[in-house]
Symmetry: C2
Subunit: 274 residues, 2 copies
């Protein structure tokens, strides 16, 4: 299975915790892990590679020096790094056809195989929307971005890289971001939805991008079906969306013990401190 992350060095401890969770729910699997970044120190990457390799993760650093988009017309209201996810196909080996992008504020608590095997041959991405109880956030975003499709969360993206290379137009992405810079709230996610929302295959958020803040809303929406038992048995990707993060002391929400336990396990599976 091929995984993609785009992050800076501050998020490396979170990545290690996420990889620990991926390791333990896929005891037989090996992974190639692409990390697109613009300056994680070499010694930290080396430590990550060393520990990762012992756990079946073959880590490939994709370092982007300077501005990879020079030559294109852009004033960059946002830093170039913001586009690494949406334009990842540009930076990954041409021989790579599919990759699973994950935000680092995630735990994987059940296997990813069924997501990985989803047929996305006709789509750019598979992604989930956090519509939850009402369709309100969806509708607001549809009006805001002038789209008719669901508003997808970009924290989990199964990427059809060939299709991305064929369809995603860098200049169009920059033009859109610049033109709408004042309206964009989550710029790259907004651009993805506005320009390519109709080429995204919807997947079930409760299984593949469960918003860990919203246990009660999931319960209501599902008429009581999505109990803690259900989540622990059926959810694969637990996403700690929002500002309040489970690695911070102030975090007081559900799943804290689980995340904290994985932080402890991380010390055993990625022992080098980075």
């Amino acid at each position: 299975m091929d995984l993609l992350f785009t992050l800076d060095e501050n998020y490396l401890p979170r990545l290690e915790t996420l990889l620990t969770s991926i390791r333990l729910v896929h005891p037989e699997e090996n992974f190639t892990v692409y990390i697109i970044h613009s300056g994680i120190p070499r010694e930290k990457l080396q430590a990550l590679c060393r520990d990762g390799e012992k756990e079946g993760f073959f880590i490939r650093s994709v370092k982007i020096d300077g501005n990879p988009f020079s030559g294109l017309k852009t004033t960059f209201s946002y830093p170039p790094q913001m586009y690494y996810r949406l334009l990842a196909a540009e930076f990954l080996p041409a021989s790579l056809h599919k990759v699973l992008y994950l935000d680092p504020d995630i735990l994987v608590i059940n296997p990813l195989y069924r997501l990985w095997d989803t047929d996305i041959s006709e789509y750019l991405f598979a992604a989930a929307s956090h519509t939850l109880l009402t369709d309100l956030p969806n509708n607001i975003n549809q009006v805001r971005l002038g789209t008719s499709n669901d508003y997808y969360n970009s924290g989990v993206l199964l990427m059809n890289l060939d299709k991305c290379r064929e369809i995603i137009d860098k200049q169009q992405v920059f033009d859109y971001a610049e033109k709408h810079s004042k309206e964009l709230i989550l710029p790259d996610q907004d651009v993805m939805n506005a320009l390519y929302g109709n080429l995204i295959l919807p997947i079930e958020d409760a299984k593949w991008n469960y918003d860990a803040r919203k246990y009660d809303s999931y319960m209501v929406r599902s008429n009581g079906k999505y109990t803690m038992e259900w989540v622990m048995s059926n959810t694969s990707i637990l996403h700690f969306c929002g500002r309040d993060k489970p690695w911070k002391k102030s975090f007081r929400k559900r799943f804290k013990a689980l995340y904290r336990h994985y932080m402890q396990l991380t010390k055993l599976y990625f022992p080098t401190e980075i």
Copy 2:
């Protein structure tokens, strides 16, 4: 490390979940696991051995046929199985000097090495008491059993088997149990405390036998030190004491997500259903 369990076939799924947790927090360790029982079906034991061996658990079944205590004067108000834990040294190989007994309603969430390495050369057991906020349960039990030492929980026992063989007197155990049968609430635990409480090395319950029902009491007792962060970083043995069990749907207490997650992991590490 050598582990001991005394259980019947109904508890095998719980044992597998406990072993899964032990496996994941000791990635480099191998274990010999002694199971004292009086009739777990052979095919279930074989499945457990097969799955266990792949995960570094060498499982040794110690089957006790009939009444191993015949020839001793006993009317057995309690079934003979009740004595397997306290008299375990009788049934284990004479070459085995130390073993860690664990109840099956436990998760191990941090390594056991420091407990295992505790010097118990002068004691029968190391064990923790669940004194918690006040010493009330302790005092009640001291009066009830006529002891002056703490009232120890027998769910986690580091056993000095040589000392047990030397000191524990079967006939005395049966005599005590029969004589006091009307006063005993948790018979084997009461007998252990009444007869051998002064030969038990106290260990810290918050680390080695954390009563999972009592998060709030631990917080109060520790003046706010034993937060969820502290527990997840420092507690090794999380004990789901009492009637309400985390594998039951009705369970509504803390650590449910964690236990349920380990139930899922169990399917990956002990795939044969037993």
